[in-house]
């Protein structure tokens, strides 16, 4: 009479997949850039438009690139986290100020604090297109040689930082020649 057990067996199999599925995010799309050199860019700096910020600036050490804008609610939400990461000083944070008004961006950083080492102004959003940005905020972890190690979509929090990103950053630093 084994056939009467087929429904329950099938159900148990489904539950197994659901249990696994709960811990996965279906809207998370892996970046094709992972493990590849970051797309090169050089943009005017937010603080001083005469200077440039770009892939060359970030090379030489493990770094974060955070895509943000003053218009983006998720970016304001993760701002405290970025401040905490910057205060810990383990990994420098660079910003890509995306499709934003530079004056508003400077004002927001004055008011809420500035976690960034430097910001590139991507006013027309071209660099973000090269980087495959879907929406702000997104955060990339880059190796010292400019390779993309990790990409996080959506607001950061300290849990994600400590569990997912920081170990990768430390590991990348160890492997650094």
């Amino acid at each position: 009479m084994w056939r009467y057990f087929l429904p329950i067996a099938f159900f148990v199999l489904l539950v197994g997949f659901f249990l696994r599925g709960l811990s996965l995010d279906p809207s998370e799309i892996p970046s094709p850039l992972l493990g590849k050199p970051a797309p090169a860019f050089a943009l005017p700096s937010l603080d001083d438009p005469a200077k440039t910020v770009g892939t060359d600036t970030m090379k030489g050490e493990v770094a974060l690139l955070n895509v943000w804008g003053t218009w983006c609610a998720g970016c304001r939400q993760e701002h405290d986290t970025l401040m905490a990461i910057a205060a810990a000083g383990e990994v420098p944070i660079y910003g890509l100020n995306w499709k934003d008004d530079p004056d508003a961006a400077r004002q927001m950083l004055r008011q809420m604090g500035n976690p960034y080492v430097a910001n590139g102004v991507d006013a027309d959003g071209r660099v973000a297109i090269d980087w495959g940005v879907y929406g702000a905020p997104e955060t990339f972890l880059l190796a010292a040689d400019g390779t993309v190690i990790y990409k996080h979509i959506g607001p950061l929090n300290l849990g994600i930082w400590q569990q997912d990103i920081l170990p990768l950053a430390l590991q990348a630093r160890e492997q650094q020649p």
């Binding site: 429904p7 997949f17 996965l24 279906p26």
Partner: protein, 654 residues
């Protein structure tokens, strides 16, 4: 204070549900009549407190009480009163409360309708329904409390999702939930039968009206959702094979199989364990739908805000309910054997084919829906399954089913022969074939073989459904035709109407995206669309750009459509309100797109022949279901049951 009252009422309802769930089941097991009798007043009390809680939440919305988080997140003082009320079920927490209210309405109905059933059997039904209610009440209280306070209170609310500010949304979820949740009643009947563990077929007659009523609500709910998506999303599609749509479609397919299988068990005492399995499966798929929609495991345009904690809770609940039910099934179902046989050419065989094909169709939808999740869980990467898969694979089981239906309807129980049946169907087949070919060649432009087969199938079903009423009419005994037969004929006719609408709309629709300036025109077929004007419109809580489009048929103005592009002020989200000129034979559909610069606007213009038949067919199907429920047999069933109580109780062996 008042919102706390709502939460308190839910807590009392949970306690009463526990009593309703535990006492009657324990009483049935120990033959304690007093314990069994507690279930009914406990259910009545539970209903009162759930209703109170629902009214409290509704009151908070009407009064704009933005100190309640749920109200502040999903309403706004500028929102019209009607949408403030429908906003109660506009998001996760409130829709769960609606779900619980609907479950309680079903429980009360099942108690009233089942008062003539054998005492022990009925106590078990009430108990099982009580346990289901416990699960949902615990879910809302522990993970999704709609009465949580926001301190300090918000000045104003964040407004209801503009997509949902629509009259159809006001009734779509209640209808759908009445369908989903209604399958809890046949589920409870099936569990009661398995708990009793003896051969039983009476239950099929008792359960059938409940299964049919749930199916009627689900049919209407799905049709409403489809209609709403058609005019509100601005794409002019009527079905998208979105995971959430599939979540409602799977219980519908399984429920359809259940209704047909119940007939066989009721009339012939066959398929006993199979029918029990279908009753369990239909409700399990309703629960599965809840899990898929509310846990965030799938990407969908209308999945609720996802929360893994909620997902885990429903998954555990799903495991307990479905796991227990299927384990009980595996244990007790082998006892439910049938000794009656049937010939290869008989009504039973056709209904068996219907069941198998419907279950295959359910699996087709299930596999397509879960494929991305399964591949992701196996680490195989991200996949998405498009409508192409569903459209291509879904007709593999459904086309043969529809073709068999026309013959099966006229085949006798036990044994029949093709010569007798063919007399009923050959004229219909010839007529349908002629209509299929003629329509494909003559009406509209350029259909293929597949659409000809589709049109043939539609007429084949419609004509086959007319055979019985026509036979009674010829004998002059139309009034003598049993309501169950009427119901079957009407519902199958509705299916034919639906197929015709779906095939013709999919094959012959014309769609055009145009960039137009004011004063310019475009034409689709014989219809000319002229872009007359563009103006600003102020709604109660939105600002809109409205286009004035005049439509001419051979130089004569037949309609003026006013499609809008709305921006809702609070959420700043743009919405498309399409303009539709609806006739039975065709819809003319205009959606206003985006400004393209230089005063030009993108406009999507569509001609959709027979699209109305899709929803009309669903309405006819539902009417068929309603008519069938009115059949004498189910009233006699109650009298039978009353007469049988002493015997039934005495024979009880647990």
């Amino acid at each position: 204070m008042i919102p706390e009252l709502g939460q308190f009422a839910l807590i009392i309802a949970l306690c009463l549900a526990l009593v309703q769930g535990v006492m009657p089941l324990a009483g049935a097991q120990t033959r304690n009549r007093a314990w069994m009798a507690i279930g009914k007043p406990a259910a009545a009390g539970q209903f009162v407190f759930v209703l109170l809680s629902f009214l409290v939440l509704t009151w908070a919305f009407i009064q704009n009480d933005f100190s309640v988080t749920y109200v502040a997140s999903h309403s706004n003082s500028a929102l019209p009163l009607m949408y403030r009320i429908s906003a109660v079920w506009g998001a996760h927490e409130g829709s769960l409360l609606l779900w619980i209210l609907v479950l309680n309405i079903w429980i009360i109905s099942a108690i009233i309708g089942g008062r003539h059933l054998p005492e022990i059997f009925n106590a078990r039904v009430v108990g099982v329904l009580g346990l289901v209610s416990v699960g949902f009440l615990a879910f809302i209280l522990f993970t999704s409390n709609p009465f949580d306070r926001l301190i300090p209170a918000a000045m104003d609310g964040r407004d209801l999702n503009p997509l949902l500010q629509d009259p159809a949304l006001a009734i779509h979820p209640p209808m759908l939930y009445f369908g989903y949740v209604g399958f809890a009643v046949p589920f409870a009947f099936a569990i009661a039968v398995l708990l009793e563990g003896r051969q039983a077929t009476d239950w099929a007659r008792w359960a059938k009206p409940w299964a049919t009523m749930s199916w009627v609500f689900l049919t209407l709910g799905i049709a409403l959702g489809s209609w709403w998506a058609y005019y509100e999303l601005g794409w002019g599609g009527w079905w998208f094979w979105d995971p959430v749509e599939n979540a409602s479609f799977m219980p519908w397919l399984m429920g359809t199989a259940l209704i047909h299988s119940l007939s066989v068990t009721e009339k012939r005492g066959l398929f006993k364990s199979w029918t029990l399995l279908l009753a369990i499966s239909a409700f399990s798929l309703s629960l599965l739908g809840t899990f898929l929609v509310r846990s965030g495991v799938l990407v969908s345009v209308h999945a609720f805000a996802s929360d893994p904690e909620r997902g885990l809770f429903i998954l555990i609940f799903l495991c307990v309910v479905v796991g227990a039910a299927l384990t009980l099934y595996a244990w007790r179902a082998p006892r439910m054997t049938s000794d009656a046989g049937f010939a290869a050419f008989s009504r039973e065989s056709f209904l068996l084919a219907n069941n198998i094909l419907l279950v295959i169709a359910t699996f087709v939808v299930l596999i397509g829906t879960l494929f991305p999740l399964v591949m992701d869980a196996l680490g195989q990467g991200k996949y998405s399954v498009g409508p192409q898969y569903f459209a291509a694979v879904f007709i593999i089981p459904t086309l043969p089913m529809v073709l068999l239906l026309g013959v099966g309807m006229h085949t006798a129980w036990r044994r029949d022969n093709w010569n007798r049946v063919s007399r009923h169907v050959r004229i219909g087949a010839a007529l349908a074939l002629a209509l299929g070919i003629a329509i494909s060649l003559l009406a509209w432009d350029g259909g293929g073989v597949l659409s000809a087969i589709g049109v043939f199938a539609a007429f084949w079903v419609m004509i086959a459904s007319l055979v019985d009423p026509l036979a009674f009419l010829r004998k002059g005994q139309l009034r003598r035709m049993p309501l169950a037969l009427w119901g079957m004929s009407i519902a199958h006719f509705g299916l034919g109407v639906f197929i015709l609408g779906a095939v013709v709309t999919e094959t012959y629709s014309v769609e055009r995206d145009e960039a137009l300036r004011v004063g310019e025109s475009t034409s689709v077929g014989q219809f000319e669309f002229r872009f007359d004007d563009l103006r600003q419109v102020e709604g109660p809580n939105y600002t809109a750009v409205e286009a004035v489009i005049s439509i001419f048929d051979g130089g004569e103005e037949i309609a003026v459509l006013l499609p809008q592009k709305r921006v809702y002020r609070v959420q700043q989200s743009p919405m498309t309100e399409s303009g539709i000129d609806a006739r039975l034979g065709r819809d003319l559909y205009v959606a206003l797109g985006d400004p393209l610069g230089g005063n030009a606007w993108s406009l999507r213009v569509q001609y959709k022949p027979l699209v109305r038949l899709i929803w009309l067919g669903c309405i006819i199907m539902s009417i068929g279901g309603l008519v069938a429920v009115g059949d004498r047999r189910y009233r006699i069933a109650r009298q039978d049951a009353t007469a049988k109580i002493p015997a039934g109780t005495a024979r009880e062996t647990g």
